[in-house]
């Protein structure tokens, strides 16, 4: 009320804007990329504060020569590494095939995870098979890494007679209890706080399974993200909370989600939760960080927030055209490279892989996808061939069908 001086410049509204738009030359030189191996690895029972620099830095293991360096090297055996490579290559082949299928009119929609394969695949390997995943639509790699049948996934995408979701859900909104893969909601963020509830239930039951959840950089703005962090922190829930920062949310760059002022990992520190910021295209770093968080959760150490720093190399979905809002070709310049290439190079560098074997793997994976495609397409594609009967539309609204749904089913005459 002792009023401040009024000879100030006027207030002005600030609107964030990405550095480059279509027509500009892609250029990431402004992005500071820390050296691999530089950050310490605290014990899994260290206090949350011990992760402070990890929340602002970037955990990296693979260096430019394909070597694994520093304390975060998870020292995986070559077999596990090849298994990860295989799952990533298979995921990419699957994505490519399904986008083609969509272009051919076999389904209505598809979403790739190109460039982000390490996220889901390395995390699936770092978790136990029984841990429950609460993914978004971009973690198909979880299913692939858990050896879930591709044909089953395709049936969902085709909404055909083999679709375990009975044609109800849009393509890629998979669900499989057996695979520990929670039903994907179209509503962003909602599964994040549900994962905390699942983890609390597991803790309540004295179980040993933990939960893991994923959310995009964009969707961190939803209230559910806040609720997840609050409840996880208050009840020390055994959950690994992942933020996949792939720089884009459809056409909005991560500054619109609050990525200009600080990292997304920092959100976790705001709740006194350990937070790790990881090179999301570095298979070994992703594995190591996830394993750290999972081990911590499993030993009643509570939740960890992991920011996976990556780049959405493809369009948001088959409905999207990124050349409308970002420079063409940006994806090929992403300074953290491609996750498959980097793991391949590492395996080659340690003498456990070769260009020939890689080419053979790629061909083998394409073939596997082709076989699965044939199997799935035999059960129909969207609007063509076998499908679930319209009568099933009225099932599963409730466990038992009430009178009004029975009557509506009659009205439809099915």
């Amino acid at each position: 009320m002792t009023d401040a001086p009024r000879n100030l410049p006027r207030l002005a509204l600030y609107i964030p804007e990405p550095a480059r738009r279509p027509g500009d030359a892609p250029d990431f030189s402004g992005l500071a990329i820390p050296e691999p191996g530089a950050l310490p690895r605290p014990d899994i029972d260290a206090p949350a504060e011990a992760t402070r620099e990890l929340a602002y830095g970037l955990i990296r293991v693979l260096d430019g020569d394909g070597r694994a360096v520093g304390p975060w090297d998870p020292r995986l055996d070559p077999q596990t590494l090849r298994r990860g490579l295989r799952a990533m290559v298979l995921t990419r082949a699957y994505d490519e095939r399904m986008v083609r299928a969509q272009r051919q009119g076999k389904t209505s929609f598809y979403m790739k995870c190109t460039g982000e394969e390490a996220v889901a695949v390395a995390q699936a390997l770092a978790l136990n098979r029984e841990d429950m995943c609460f993914p978004t639509y971009r973690q198909q790699g979880l299913l692939v890494a858990r050896d879930w049948p591709l044909a089953d996934m395709m049936c969902q995408v085709y909404s055909n007679a083999g679709d375990r979701l009975k044609g109800r859900q849009m393509p890629v909104f998979y669900s499989s209890k057996e695979a520990g893969f929670f039903s994907i909601s179209g509503n962003l963020g909602t599964q994040y706080s549900q994962a905390v509830g699942w983890a609390m239930a597991s803790a309540y039951k004295g179980d040993d399974r933990i939960a893991a959840a994923w959310v995009g950089d964009g969707a961190t703005a939803e209230g559910d993200f806040h609720h997840a962090l609050t409840f996880a922190s208050v009840y020390r829930a055994p959950v690994v909370l992942n933020v996949v920062n792939n720089q884009w949310a459809i056409s909005s760059f991560q500054g619109i989600a609050g990525g200009e002022a600080t990292t997304f990992a920092a959100r976790g520190l705001g709740f006194g939760m350990p937070a790790l910021r990881v090179d999301g295209n570095d298979f070994l770093a992703v594995y190591a960080a996830t394993r750290w968080a999972a081990d911590r959760a499993r030993t009643n150490g509570g939740p960890t927030l992991i920011e996976l720093f990556t780049y959405r190399a493809s369009a948001h979905s088959t409905s999207d055209d990124p050349s409308k809002y970002r420079p063409a070709g940006e994806e090929s310049l992403w300074p953290l490279g491609d996750p498959i290439d980097r793991l391949r190079d590492h395996l080659v560098a340690i003498g456990e892989w070769s260009a020939e074997r890689h080419a053979a793997l790629e061909e083998e994976m394409r073939e596997e996808v082709r076989r699965a495609g044939q199997e799935a397409e035999a059960l129909g594609t969207l609007g063509t061939g076998p499908a679930h009967s319209p009568a099933t539309m009225f099932d599963d609204v409730f466990k038992e069908m009430p009178w009004h749904l029975r009557r509506q089913r009659q009205e439809l005459g099915v």
Binding site: K177, S183, T190, G197, K205, A211, H227, F398, W403
Partner: protein
């Protein structure tokens, strides 16, 4: 058989379910040590421990989401939303998640949660402690919506709700917590005391979901009501001298059309009563259903006596509340028609 208030009956239902099923957890704002602002969970934390009955952060969406996740795990969570007026932050988790999980997962994942919440006016709560949002939930496929009007039903319905494998919204008429209330706010408050509807068995019993009760048989007109309005309707009938049949819906989704249809076909007239704002309220659905099912038996239009289409005003609450005089006037009108 002990006499219980509605609060005690609800407490007893929770007690029974906590003791019978280790997968039942009770949580919400202030429900733990304190036992809830309306004391419905009093003593339960002491009896079952803080891992089974506990306080939550003030985040209704977080509470429901936690319950959805627990339900997917296999538990049977019972959560309290402190006032129905505060359920809106949880709308997305209820509509997009709890209600749809079974459907969208092809039946693999389910959310068998129960959301208890006090609703309705009559306690000078103003617009944020008086609302009746039942119509919103009745519109959502995949949710059941239950509203008891007395202690006996409250306990039996709540047990059925908790045991139900689908998500249930359980709306508690807060003005009935401590006694029946017929809308005569200027008369002395009555306790549940020896009201027959307050004779509540100690142990486990169910009142089935989806079944209405004819609480007063009558020949001339059918009144459809639930919650507090059941008592108001009964009072209006007494005072008007019109021989109305009063039906307590108890569950509004799925609604018991068999009982309703039988009654309206008999009486030929129907008045729907609720406390919620009129337009788009559940009374519209009831009127629509009744005229669909009983058109050729109806001798007058179905009438609605409801809260006005305004927020619930603090000082003018008794002008807002659809009390016995307004119900009686509607009865008189419907008989004239």
């Amino acid at each position: 058989m002990p006499a219980m208030t509605m609060v005690q009956a609800i407490n007893s239902a929770l007690d029974v379910m906590l003791s019978e099923d280790p997968d039942v957890l009770v949580f919400g704002e202030d429900v733990g040590f304190f036992g809830g602002v309306f004391r419905c969970t009093q003593g339960l934390q002491g009896k079952y421990g803080k891992r089974r009955v506990f306080d939550t952060p003030i985040a209704e969406a977080g509470i429901v989401a936690t319950a959805v996740g627990m339900g997917a795990y296999g538990l049977r969570p019972v959560v309290e939303i402190q006032f129905a007026d505060y359920i809106y932050p949880a709308t997305d988790q209820l509509i997009s998640e709890a209600a749809r999980l079974r459907y969208r997962s092809g039946g693999e994942f389910t959310a068998p949660l129960t959301v208890r919440t006090p609703y309705g006016g009559g306690i000078f709560g103003g617009q944020t402690h008086s609302q009746s949002p039942e119509a919103i939930f009745a519109h959502v496929c995949g949710l059941k919506t239950v509203i008891p009007s007395n202690p006996y039903d409250a306990k039996g319905l709540l047990i059925s709700a908790i045991e139900d494998d689908d998500p249930v919204i359980f709306l508690e008429p807060k003005r009935l917590y401590h006694g029946p209330f017929d809308g005569h706010h200027d008369r002395p408050v009555r306790p549940w005391g020896d009201d027959p509807r307050a004779q509540v068995p100690d142990g486990h019993y169910r009142v089935p979901l989806g079944q209405a009760a004819v609480v007063r048989p009558g020949a001339d007109v059918t009144i459809l009501a639930y919650g507090t309005m059941v008592h108001v309707a009964l009072a209006a009938v007494e005072e008007s001298g019109i021989d109305a049949e009063v039906i307590d819906l108890r569950t509004i989704m799925p609604v018991d059309m068999e009982t309703i249809t039988a009654s309206v076909k008999k009486t030929g007239r129907c008045v729907v009563v609720h406390e919620a704002t009129r337009t788009g309220g559940f009374g519209g659905e009831l009127a629509a259903l009744v005229q669909e099912a009983c058109f050729y038996h109806l001798e007058a239009p179905v009438q609605r006596v409801t809260g006005w289409d305004t927020p619930y005003p603090h000082a003018l609450e008794w002008h807002y509340f659809p009390g016995p005089a307004r119900v009686a006037a509607s009865l008189a009108r419907v008989m004239e028609d």
